[in-house]
Amino acid sequence: MAEEKEVKRLKIKATAQMGKIMADYFYELDAAAKDQSKPIAWCTSVGPAELLRAMGYLVHFPENHGAMLGATRMATDMIPEANAIGYTPTICSYLTADIGAYLKGVTPLSQAYKGIDSVPKPDVLVFNTNQCRDVQDWFSWYGDEFNVPVIGIHTHRGIKDVGEEHVTSVAEQIKNLIPTLEKVSGNKFDIDELKRVLALSRECSQLWQKVLFTAGTKPSPLTFFDGTIHMGPAVVLRGTQPAIDYYTLLLAELEERIKDHVAAVEGEKYRIYWEGMPVWGRLSTHSKLFAGLSANVLASTYCNSWIFSDFDENDPFKSMARAYTKLFIVRSDEAKQEYIKRMLEFFKVDGIVYHDAMTCPNNSNCRYGMAQRMEKETGIPSLIINGDLNDLRMLSDEQTKTNVEAFVEQLEEQRG
């Protein structure tokens, strides 16, 4: 019988090093905000961070802050503050948690890093709508609040094949950001610096991909829940050497596990693919729940979203445009399904869990019949759980638990 039991979940030794580089990153931003020694840009997580770094900006990512609010379970108390000023409970709960926290004057950074009292004040906000429209609304609110420019890229969405017309359009939009960025920072754009940063970013991305793809091994040395934590440097430090050094270290540890046949989830019996956002406030709960059923949620579209294989320093603008437009979230359902099918095969998956996140329609891919279509085409069973990335009012732990247990019972029954 599929019954949850206490199972040893292996800790990753490199985590301490990640803690150090993340602390360095936040303290550098905080110092720059305080002494105004360097310009600060806020950027969307799959936005043109490379351009910003190349122009001398330190970069803060509000989505990373939103995820921290979720993981620390502060978000649910912050969201009502934003609801009260007109941002409804059904829109992006990163947005509502982040604006709510700002309105309340609190940040999880203060708990994690002594001496940091607030998020670093921006000199400019730069968005890319490749993920959703909410990022533009979110950044516009701060633009008004801080009276600083808000500039961005409007990406074509629902694309099956990324064509030259999409790439050219986005590349031009990236170039068009430069005059404002030069004006705000006082720094002149230098193409060689962009090429250097882009090369570093690609190297980080390649290493991150190798890290995630170690989960293709049986048993997997990695879980999706590990991935959501260790993706930090790929999000906020890509384009820098510390991120590359970190993933080199992490990869070596995971390859060592593979060599020694060490499983991230002891006694791995079922291999699960996670489609959608994590429930940040339930990472540990969900990790224990699946591990207790000898199921390893080992791969996800979400963590893969920071793999930018197309970056090419010899063609910086177009390759950035291509990489940021080829993202899963930008694409049509047809393209998404083809991608997931490749992942199911590569990771040798037994079942898919779709997280239908109430406030994130763009990352909830089960709303237009995809789960049913995929099940029919691949024969791999799926489960849809209702929840949210940040707003814990939107989920029922008991229902999730029953659903997951019943799903693993089904996998067990089908295996015979």
């Binding site: 019988m1 099940e375 849809i384 939107m394 019943a406 089904q410």
Partner: protein
Amino acid sequence: MNDRPVFIGTDVGASRTKLAVLDSDRRLVGYAVLKSGTDFTVTANNCLAMALKMADVTPGDIRHSVSTGYGRKNVEFSEATKTEISCHARGCYHYFPMAITIVDIGGQDNKVIKLDDQGRRLSFKMNRKCAAGTGAFLEEMALRLDIPLGEMNDLAVQSRNMERLGSFCTVFSGTEVLEKIRNGKKVPDIVKGLFYSVIRRVMEMDSLTAKVVMTGGVVAHNPYLVTMTEELIERDIQVAEYPQLTGAVGAALYAMDAKL
């Protein structure tokens, strides 16, 4: 007293706790249904005492015991747990051994479970975190209409002109019911509209393919819901003799697997 082995299945649901006693020949020889209340452990113990008495056996005759439902971890005498999805499937297949689609309407959640002709589960769906379409919805509406829950079935049967409700949400439905009362609509017509709303919510969860079997407390107490569903899908629906007990029977069958 007879000296014969029995197997216990306990289904601690959000609303009611159901317990089934099966003998070695898989016959239901005892059962009990009580309000789950606030102490699931005590309720399960009370159910056990009642059902063992009915079966004319003693605790010493119990060979194995499996519990299911939201309170499955609170059953002291249970030796293993299994989800209600698996137990309802197992219980229904016991009574109807064929490819079936099970529609279970419980106090707090609904399930649609599909089994192949070997009883293997093909898929399952549970309702979202919402009372729409569950027993809790009917309880809330009975309060609004100021009628005992137990009278809803008879009232719905009397309806001649069903009043449909448009809303998905229990709170909005409550407002709609008040509006209908204010406009002088007849209570039987409103109640039938409420039943229709429950059925629609369930039918939105999944397609009803193969032979349909309906279970759960709401069906047990409101057989007219089954008739209405049959009319809607234009097919006969199977209902077990004790539709509220199928989860508990399934749990008892799993208990039997473990020990026979």
